[in-house]
Symmetry: C2
DNA sequence: TCATATACCGAAAATTTATTCGCCATACCC
DNA sequence: GGGTATGGCGAATAAATTTTCGGTATATGA
């Protein structure tokens, strides 16, 4: 039985929301799942910089928190799919505003921290 | 001269925005500064769970990233103030939507992860 | 002289998060 | 039997973040 090591932060609304998405890949995973459910191998193809292991670990927490749902198909070789839930989907407007902010300010930070 | 250990993530708009605010206290600091500039001791009073040290470290990164501005008053004992910049203020609507989401879903997670 | 107050910083330790590597199980195919 | 493919997990390591503790500097005032 899986259990979060670090519990969701219930101390204030902002920290609650942040604690659900503030790891390195969770917000990207939710963003990738917005249009279609993906298998772990497809998600890894979409986010090649993330290792399969870390995607697996963070998907487990997203499932645990109810933002993503997992479906296992009893086939061989095994197949599973991860889909965003309605609760997870309700976070997408927040991610959208972050994406818009990042696009609006990309040049500023590229100039500041240098395009390699 | 101060320098970020981990650079801002320029690889995509979402990760850029997240990398600016995804540490444990940065979003709370920005939220606290929305109405008035605060001195470090006042900020610590507003966020007593954060140690003065970590507030200091994260304020430095927020200043470095241009989200917060620091003013030093040459008095004794020393006095300094941290104020949100226009760039930082442009993130507040995102924080507002996170706060609203957290309020809307607080009960769900309290039921799930237990009020102590 | 000594304590106070304020902001700040260095360094070590502790904690949390991410990476790397290799293994498991299973049915299919050669 | 050996190779392939898939999803998943354990454990060790590495890296990043946070905490803890102590110290600096300065003018005031007891």
């Amino acid at each position: 039985m899986y259990e979060r090591k670090i519990p969701v932060d219930l101390s204030c609304p902002l920290r609650l929301t942040m604690s659900l998405i503030d790891s390195k890949w969770k917000s990207c995973i939710l963003d990738e799942l917005r249009d279609a459910a993906l298998r772990p191998s497809e998600l890894h193809k979409a986010l090649p910089e993330a290792t399969p292991r870390v995607l697996d670990l963070q998907l487990k927490e997203l499932v645990d928190d109810g933002l993503v749902a997992k479906t296992i198909y009893p086939e061989l070789p095994p197949r599973s799919e991860y889909a965003i839930t309605e609760l997870g989907r309700s976070l997408l407007p927040i991610l959208d505003s972050m994406i818009a902010w990042g696009e609006a300010n990309r040049e500023l930070f590229e100039a500041k921290y240098g395009r390699r």
